[in-house]
């Protein structure tokens, strides 16, 4: 098997770095390019950058920022957030991102992921979705702006995205995002076991042991880490940290 991946996940809002809890109440943290340089020096495996405003605002990505980040990053870098056309995705890749992540657009225009995958190769296309517990405590697919998402069972939806051409899946547990409660190992194990493409889990990472557990107990290929790398200490002071490769 390929080596397991630990992936710092940075959230952008209006071109600044932010962090959220359950994807709400963004707390501004600073310049994303600086964050990338720091992860560079610490030889981070790869990074993910998600623009959490684009989808809501319907704005274009900041291509020159993407270029800058990709130029600084000597590790692979995935960009996602508000991508809604093949041209937009290709432009992001041309700006230097290794992969693009498509989330909300998959509910609106399913064929875009397929077309993109055909043109650039599935290895550059990540199918992303969020999950959240419903009133009965069952995890359902979730999207803040697309109510129809919750009609899907996570495993079914994962298969759908793979069938459409996603080369990797990025799944965020919104209930745990920003909470330090630990990844929902049982949930991610079920998905990764049945899916043939690499699965990256996101949401809740609380320590190194938690990550080790994910790789020991599941077939998950990568752990996306947000709060743990960005914050440290009880006052949530902004601090970037990374562990040397185990």
């Amino acid at each position: 098997m390929s080596l397991p991946r630990i992936i710092p996940t940075l959230l952008l809002s209006n071109y600044g770095l932010v962090k959220t809890v359950n994807y709400k109440s963004p707390n501004y943290l600073g310049d994303p390019v600086n964050a990338v340089k720091i992860f560079n020096d610490k030889n981070a495996d790869e990074i993910i950058l998600l623009d959490i405003q684009s989808s809501v605002n319907g704005t274009e990505p900041n291509y020159s920022l993407i270029k800058k980040i990709a130029g600084e990053a000597f590790m692979p870098f995935t960009y996602g957030g508000g991508i809604r056309s093949v041209e937009m995705a290709k432009r992001i890749l041309a700006s230097g991102a290794e992969k693009v992540s498509l989330n909300t657009i998959n509910y609106d225009s399913p064929r875009i992921l397929t077309e993109l995958s055909k043109e650039v190769g599935s290895q550059s296309v990540v199918g992303a979705f969020d999950v959240r517990k419903d009133w009965f405590g069952r995890k359902k697919v979730y999207n803040k702006n697309r109510k129809e998402a919750k009609a899907y069972e996570p495993l079914d939806y994962a298969r759908i995205l793979v069938d459409r051409g996603a080369g990797e899946l990025f799944i965020t547990d919104v209930d745990r995002e920003g909470t330090y409660k630990g990844y929902d190992i049982e949930f991610f194990a079920t998905i990764a076991e049945k899916i043939d493409v690499p699965v990256v889990c996101n949401g809740g990472c609380n320590n190194r042991q938690n990550i080790k557990e994910v790789f020991q107990k599941t077939e998950v290929s990568g752990c996306a880490v947000g709060s743990l790398f960005l914050y440290s200490g009880p006052h949530k002071a902004f601090l970037l940290s990374y562990w040397t490769y185990e």
Partner: protein
């Protein structure tokens, strides 16, 4: 002067940045004169095989590359798709490759336990001279791999599940690396430094 051949595919800026970081100049160009005047070439590439060949043909680069690489024996490094294009053919497409290297490109088999594409960090091993550090690893993203006819052309191998494939080949002035040095931080820099200094000879 190193020329990173621009045929529309690949992380050209990243490669240039990394080469700059290790202290050399590189120019990204599809200009025949630049390719002819450069001392070394890099053929980058991300994407599908046929698209790569179509672009090389469309931009009229096949001939100048043949002259510089095969006739003039200019050192060239193919990266990822660039490496694959140097072979005879690929299962990914229907077009012929450049045919500079006796090898074909094969698809990773569709198996329950094998996640395709091979995406992530992995080790390379082999290497007659110790150019790379002992546990050198690189970032790979590919669904197809190079299968060399001659073992002597293989410089480094990589194991993915139970499949051993060529991660680096070298045939005289022609080198190919399946992984992305420009995305492999300190190991990538080590590799590029070695290529530029001709240490892999």
């Amino acid at each position: 002067m190193i020329c990173i051949v621009d045929y529309g595919l690949g992380n050209m800026e990243s490669i240039k940045k990394m080469i700059n970081k290790i202290g050399t100049n590189a120019i990204i160009s599809s200009d025949k004169d630049v390719i002819e005047e450069s001392s070394m070439l890099i053929l980058p590439g991300v994407g599908a095989f046929d698209q790569g060949m179509i672009n090389l043909n469309k931009m009229g680069l096949k001939d100048v590359l043949y002259t510089e690489v095969i006739l003039r024996q200019k050192p060239i490094l193919g990266i990822c798709l660039g490496m694959q294009l140097m072979t005879k053919s690929s299962e990914e497409g229907t077009m012929k490759g450049l045919g500079w290297v006796k090898a074909v490109v094969k698809k990773f088999p569709q198996r329950q336990s094998l996640k395709v594409p091979h995406m992530g960090w992995n080790y390379v091993y082999g290497g007659q001279n110790q150019v790379l550090t002992d546990k050198a690893r690189f970032y790979f993203v590919h669904s197809y791999y190079v299968d060399n006819e001659n073992d002597s052309d293989i410089l480094y191998k990589t194991l993915y599940s139970d499949i051993e494939f060529t991660s680096v080949f070298k045939v005289g002035n022609i080198m190919g690396i399946q992984a992305h040095p420009e995305k492999s931080h300190r190991y990538g820099m080590e590799f590029l430094r070695g290529f530029i200094a001709n240490e892999f000879a």
